[in-house]
């Protein structure tokens, strides 16, 4: 109570002294609080994770948020799974072969069972994929498996379409792809590619995911899900590698209020927070340096320019707008939340790639950039007498607003008048989809660790997700060639050439690469920062 005593005002003092009842009440509350503050003894190893969002579903086919996939990654084991460092490692498949042309994969399924003892078979994987792709399922992420032969046709409802996946026997699965896709193995770690327990789904239908019905093939099993509060998982003793799983129970607490989540961490009630309140980063750096983890994350924050709207078809204008953005000022002075200035579309460290193709003027001074931008604008017919005017749209969020205001002022230096317009996320992205914008803020987090998963956003065939409506024959050609290339090195070179085209054309202005920001208690062992930001509980341990 000392804190309160110190902050009491004279006015409040008067009230406290004059009210006997209040004093008695305070005494009762204070004594009961002391009684209540005793903590429960913990016999088991329980990992308490602050998760920045409510899960959507425990059914892998209806998961599209990273907050939910953290939970499903603990429950289900894909053919491949994330290793301790986020890299794909053998999961439900113990080994695999790839054909010469890179288009046929043969997996040997590990001898393991569902949590109810029923063996996991190759058919369980095929059934899972067929369910995901069936149009009536309405799975948001079905397109992730389109690389498998026949997948897109099935999902589009084409009659007679057949999936290119065969069970050669219970433990051998053969998969045929439409193109040699080295990222296919990484894709298999994704929840869309998980097997499903056919016998449980047949028995319980939609309710198979309820805690009392669900069966899993991963290290943890759902014990309870209290909406709005937490999802509790307990160790699955039937897991093939259960002997090496140290943590007995993991509880994911849903938190959208990041400050509240942080307070719980500070009070020792959480061991991990998967996000931090960015505005408090300096305080965290000063006071909780041993817990704060900031690491590159496979994602890009960018501004899309609608290239089919005049005058944005003109590359000189797009390039001028990009040149005028002082990225270092945005990350270091405006946002100050640890992000990394971006001069390429593919973040450095992305899989199957090597060094990204940066904009040619990456190392030029900002003053030179401004001068060049002004020159380009003048060439395009814009200047003090005829300023370029447009609207920059963003979805309502504090950091987006700070970025937009900064960008507006940076463009002002080259005589450009940008108006800002913000809308709630749903409206913003609905407008982006139909191309109802001139310039707009957007972002992309990779689904799997491969450069193709960034660059495809610039392909004409990508459709509505190509926000810029970028239509460049050379770029499309290079991406198509990369898709058909089975040699990893040559494929990377083709994609780097494609990215170079994109960086020269600037349909997307890269602003910064995302970073993962979290608090991890020093008690936790086995936590390795990694770009996909995957930290499966099975690899972690808690020191006493």
């Amino acid at each position: 109570m000392t804190f309160i005593a110190r902050t009491r005002s004279g006015l409040v003092d008067g009230l406290l002294h004059s009210s006997r009842a209040f004093l008695v009440g305070t005494a009762i509350i204070a004594s009961s609080m002391t009684f209540l503050s005793t903590t429960d003894a913990q016999a088991q190893k329980v990992l308490r994770v602050g998760n920045d969002g409510e899960p959507q579903s425990m059914d892998p086919h209806f998961i599209s948020t990273v907050q939910t996939s953290r939970i499903s990654d603990d429950m289900f084991l894909g053919l491949l799974t994330y290793g301790p460092d986020g890299e794909p490692v053998a999961g439900a498949a113990e080994s695999w072969d790839v054909s010469e042309d890179g288009k046929t994969y043969t997996f040997k399924i590990r001898d393991h069972t569902w949590s109810d003892g029923v063996p996991v078979t190759a058919q369980d994987f095929i059934a899972g994929w067929e369910r995901l792709l069936a149009p009536e399922t309405g799975a948001e992420y079905a397109s992730l498996l389109y690389i498998i032969e026949g997948a897109e046709d099935i999902n589009s409802g084409k009659e007679g379409a057949k999936l290119g996946a065969n069970a050669l026997d219970d433990k051998t699965l053969e998969v045929k792809l439409t193109a040699p896709a080295p990222y296919f193995l990484a894709q298999l770690t994704h929840q869309t590619a998980f097997a499903i327990p056919r016998h449980t789904i047949e028995k319980f239908g939609r309710d198979w995911v309820k805690a009392e019905n669900i069966v899993v093939n991963g290290p943890y099993k759902l014990e309870e899900w209290v909406p709005n509060v937490h999802s509790k998982l307990v160790k699955n003793d039937a897991f093939y590698d259960a002997a090496n799983v140290a943590i007995d129970e993991v509880v994911y607490y849903n938190y959208e209020d990041l400050t509240a989540m942080q307070n719980r961490f500070r009070a020792g009630e959480l061991d991990v927070t998967r996000m931090i309140a960015s505005e408090q980063i300096s305080w965290l750096k000063d006071n909780m340096a041993d817990s704060l983890r900031i690491a590159p994350y496979a994602g890009i924050y960018y501004v899309a320019i609608r290239t089919n709207k005049e005058p944005f078809g003109d590359v000189r204008i797009r390039k001028a707008l990009s040149l005028a953005i002082n990225r270092e000022a945005i990350t270091d002075s405006v946002l100050k939340t640890g992000e990394i200035p971006a001069y390429s579309f593919v973040p450095p460290g992305t899989g199957n790639y090597g060094e990204p193709s940066y904009v040619s003027w990456k190392d030029q001074s900002y003053a030179d950039n401004l001068a060049e931008a002004k020159k380009l604008l003048a060439e395009a017919g814009y200047g003090p007498d005829k300023p370029l005017k447009f609207t920059l749209r963003y979805n309502t969020q504090e950091n987006n607003k700070r970025f937009a205001i900064a960008a507006q002022n940076m463009w002002k230096q080259i005589g450009v008048e940008a108006e800002l317009f913000n809308a709630e996320g749903k409206i913003h992205f609905a407008d982006l989809k139909v191309g109802d914008f001139e310039l707009a803020r957007a972002g992309w987090i990779a689904d799997y660790n491969d450069a193709q998963n960034f660059l495809f956003l610039g392909e004409t065939r990508t459709g509505p997700l190509n926000y810029a409506a970028f239509n460049n024959a050379r770029f499309d050609e290079l991406m198509l060639a990369a898709e058909q290339e089975s040699d990893l090195k040559s494929r990377a070179t083709l994609m780097q050439q494609a990215e170079a085209v994109m960086m020269e054309e600037q349909p997307y202005i890269p602003i910064f690469y995302y970073v993962s920001k979290q608090l991890v208690s020093p008690k936790i062992e086995g936590w390795i920062d990694n770009a996909p930001d995957r930290h499966l509980t099975r690899w972690l341990d808690l020191k006493n």
């Binding site: 309160i4 209540l36 959507q56 909406p227 709005n228 009070a267």
Partner: protein, 307 residues
């Protein structure tokens, strides 16, 4: 009285129907849909999903289907929290919301009426100013400031209570959310009580009571409070409905279960069935509590009773 009650109940049905209709169409008029997000869906997938949720049918047909379903007590599945039906989500959150809300309103009533009466009896003294000053602060400081402050002071600095969480519903987890919910209500009720008490204390029937030689304590308890409580009672109807349907601030800061979050999150997510579900619950509660208030009014106010 019974006839009056029956009439009021009869009006409730069309009122509810209008609320449902307006909410349904307003929700659909809002731009953007449940599947508009940072990651745009390929057209064929969007088509599949819309069909799965009947969202591809004409709006009027969807409305008729929806009305038919709710008449059968089926609120449908949530679009965004797919493993639960709307009814399950509401049933899972409502007990906590009701518990927290009712506790808060009882606390607010006891302290609010107590403090308000005390201030009125000491009108224009230091005590009066102190109580009303604090009440003013209570009204002015929003919940989203008060709640983290309480959590920081009692949870982080003093380590007396958990900063947040639900712990299966242990009392210690409920104390801070209840206090945070009650504080603004205490303040508001205290001001209301003081205002009407001051007015009542100057009325003729109180003067008569005093003239009869009744002791001041009896004058207040037997005569004044009844009259002074009338505005508080009419405030209690909507206030109780509001706190019992949860609070997005309290739930998200204290990590407590409840249905308050759904009012905001479901609307932002365009989770149509869930929005409709919570709107209906809220409307029914408001209608019911207002009805209750009218009944209590009749009991408290002798003038109404004779009419």
């Amino acid at each position: 009285m019974i006839l009056y009650a029956f009439r009021r109940l009869m009006i409730a049905i069309p009122t509810l129907f209008i609320v449902i209709t307006v909410a349904f169409f307003m929700m659909r008029a809002a731009p953007g849909g449940p599947f508009d997000q940072e990651r745009v869906l390929p057209p064929e997938i969007e088509r599949n999903i819309k069909a799965a949720y009947d969202l591809d049918k004409p709006l009027v047909e969807q409305y008729v289907i929806y009305l038919g379903k709710i008449l059968r007590g089926d609120f449908g599945p949530s679009i965004k929290i797919r493993d639960f039906t709307v009814a399950e989500l509401i049933m899972a959150g409502a007990p906590a919301s009701i518990q927290l809300g009712l506790s808060a309103i009882v606390l607010a009533l006891v302290f609010g009426v107590g403090l308000g009466t005390y201030a009125a009896l000491h009108q224009n003294t230091k005590t009066d100013f102190a109580v009303m000053g604090v009440a003013m602060v209570g009204i002015a400081v929003p919940n989203f400031v008060m709640a983290p402050l309480l959590s920081l002071i009692f949870g982080v600095y003093l380590s007396l209570l958990p900063t947040a969480g639900w712990g299966g519903g242990d009392l210690k987890y409920k104390i801070l959310p209840i206090i945070a919910l009650a504080l603004p209500q205490v303040a508001y009720i205290a001001r209301l009580t003081r205002g009407s008490m001051v007015e009542v204390l100057h009325s003729n029937y109180i003067r008569t009571a005093r003239a009869k030689g009744l002791r001041e304590r009896l004058v207040v308890i037997r005569h004044a409070i009844r009259g002074a409580l009338l505005p508080v009672v009419s405030y209690l109807g909507p206030a109780t409905a509001a706190v019992m349907t949860g609070s997005v601030v309290i739930e998200s800061i204290f990590g407590a279960p409840g249905i308050g979050t759904y009012f905001v999150k479901a609307a932002l997510n365009r989770d149509y069935p869930l929005v409709m579900g919570v709107v209906i619950v809220y409307a029914v509660l408001i209608i019911f509590l207002n009805f209750l208030v009218d009944m209590v009014y009749g009991l408290l106010d002798p003038k109404l009773k004779t009419q």
